[in-house]
């Protein structure tokens, strides 16, 4: 016993882990060859990258009016889609909560929520652009969909986690259904709901800067156009303004949450 204890190594080599790491390295080489990524291409890219960066800076100061219009449109898309998306996801979340609703109501609502989460917003944006044409309407529809998927799912989960005691007490006292919802369920999930909503507004703002790339309105379209025209100093201005916009959005979301959390 003492002999085995004496030669025991403190950190035993784990051969399975080492094999795993080796496999990971092998996979990397396979993927690199499969994607035709070579070191030369990478090095050439670094040279182009340096040139690209030097063309990006300093940011161009022309067409600021266009930039401002686009930024406003981006914010508008985010605001409208957040409002409608959250409003729609409220009843859907209720209907999808399995502790309050019967099965024949929860599964169709869950199906709608799952459907709106199934694809990346950009794919929905493409489809809506094809259906309703270029412009902010397609973007709004896309982000309404995205909001339903996210807020609806989390809201349903939040409702499923509530304590049923106040609900039962109210039912026992003979309260009508709507009162049970307003005074028994809503106060328990309200704070989390505010959290989801501010988060969704934040992510809608982020996404509304990008869906323009496929023509669904907002600053993304101008960004992609600037890129295609090699108008790199304007591209830089757009990028910086997007970053600024998202920072403001994040700051606002934190502030709003603070108002409701105390």
């Amino acid at each position: 016993m003492t002999a085995t204890a004496a030669i025991r190594t403190p950190f035993k080599p784990n051969w399975w882990a080492r094999l795993g790491w080796l496999l990971l390295v092998v996979y990397c080489f396979y993927a690199l060859s499969e994607l035709q990524i070579t070191w030369e291409r990478f090095v050439i890219g670094l040279g182009t990258g340096a040139k690209f960066l030097s063309e990006l800076f300093p940011p161009g100061m022309k067409r600021l009016g266009l930039l401002l219009d686009n930024l406003i449109e981006t914010v508008e898309i985010a605001v409208i889609s957040s409002a409608f998306g959250i409003l729609l996801s409220l009843p859907l979340g209720f209907l999808a909560a399995r502790n309050l609703m019967p099965g024949w109501l929860t599964w169709p609502s869950r199906a709608i929520i799952a459907l709106s989460r199934s694809f990346h917003p950009v794919i929905f944006a493409i489809l809506f652009v094809k259906a309703v044409g270029f412009g902010p309407l397609a973007g709004i529809l896309t982000l309404v969909f995205a909001s339903i998927g996210f807020v609806g799912k989390l809201f349903a989960e939040a409702i499923e986690e509530i304590s049923l005691k106040p609900v039962e007490a109210m039912k026992a006292a003979g309260a009508p259904f709507m009162s049970v919802i307003t005074y028994g369920v809503l106060p328990q999930v309200f704070n989390r709901f505010i959290g989801f909503s501010t988060y969704q507004f934040d992510s809608n703002l982020r996404n509304s800067t990008m869906i323009g790339v496929v023509g669904a309105g907002g600053i993304g379209g101008t960004l992609f156009a600037a890129f295609q025209r090699f108008d790199y100093d304007f591209l830089c201005t757009i990028l910086l303004s997007i970053i600024g916009l998202i920072m403001i959005g994040e700051y606002l979301a934190v502030k709003i949450k603070a108002v409701f959390n105390d």
Partner: protein
């Protein structure tokens, strides 16, 4: 004595703040609704147009799966997302360590790390893809780099937080025994953050599978290129095939991640 006590849940300032938020939200919505350039005819026409679009997409043209190289594009998408996640992790580990205040006690380095993480997250994958297409030219290399650069912020932030939450006991023991800092990192920190690390990697990989399906729209490789081609040629039944494929891959990735997670963590 009618002077009974009046209870209020919130102070006046709190109520005022809440009211201000509601008012601000409604005002912003009203202004947006008024100024946004939505053509009402298009809005009312939308359900009809969507149904029409779905009609054109039906039936799904499964024959194009091998003919149009969609299988190859799918594999490429998976490779881009996996390789992108790996590259991201390689870059995110040092940044995450640098962001953890209990490991690196130099505020300047913490700030630099925070800056890298925030800037990686504020720029969308699609925008990263546009930038890298300009640098590396169209193709999978640009896509991989876009996925990687977008993921640094996510992985680095969560990794830094996991590192800040570890127990200092083993670290102090290793330090007391005179271990070099590489050993402290590998034998003291790593075993404690390994579950978090694998969790973060899997979660990000799952997200990246979704993201890598769309970066092809700006020319960064993968199934998005097939989608773009099919759209440009108005091959609607092929568009629906690509959508079905993306959906299947996303669902499979999610199932795979859930299974691995149960085994690993």
């Amino acid at each position: 004595m009618t002077d009974h006590r009046h209870w209020e849940r919130f102070t006046r300032a709190q109520r005022l703040a809440r009211f201000a938020v509601y008012l601000g939200a409604v005002a912003l919505l009203a202004v947006s609704m008024k100024t946004v350039e939505v053509i009402p005819d298009f809005l009312f026409d939308a359900p009809k147009q969507v149904v029409d679009l779905l009609n054109r997409m039906w039936p799904v043209d499964f024959g194009a799966y091998h003919k149009q190289g969609i299988h190859k594009a799918l594999i490429e998408t998976l490779n881009i997302s996996t390789l992108g996640t790996i590259v991201a992790l390689i870059m995110a580990v040092p940044v995450g360590v640098m962001a953890a205040k209990n490991i690196v006690q130099i505020p300047l380095l913490n700030w630099i790390a925070k800056f890298i993480l925030v800037s990686s997250r504020t720029v969308n994958t699609l925008v990263w893809a546009i930038l890298f297409v300009a640098v590396f030219g169209p193709g999978a290399l640009a896509g991989t780099m876009a996925i990687a650069f977008r993921s640094i912020g996510f992985c680095g932030k969560l990794l830094g937080e996991a590192l800040e939450e570890i127990k200092p006991g083993p670290i102090e023991a290793l330090k007391a025994a005179g271990a070099p800092w590489t050993s402290i990192l590998i034998k003291g920190y790593w075993p404690q953050v390994a579950p978090a690390f694998w969790g973060i990697s899997l979660f990000r990989w799952d997200i990246n599978v979704r993201e890598s399906a769309v970066i092809g729209l700006v020319g960064a490789g993968g199934i998005g290129v097939s989608l773009e081609d099919a759209l440009n040629m108005f091959r609607w039944t092929q568009v629906s095939l690509v959508l079905v494929c993306i959906f299947a891959v996303v669902v499979l990735a999610e199932v795979f991640v859930t299974k691995i997670r149960q085994k690993l963590i």
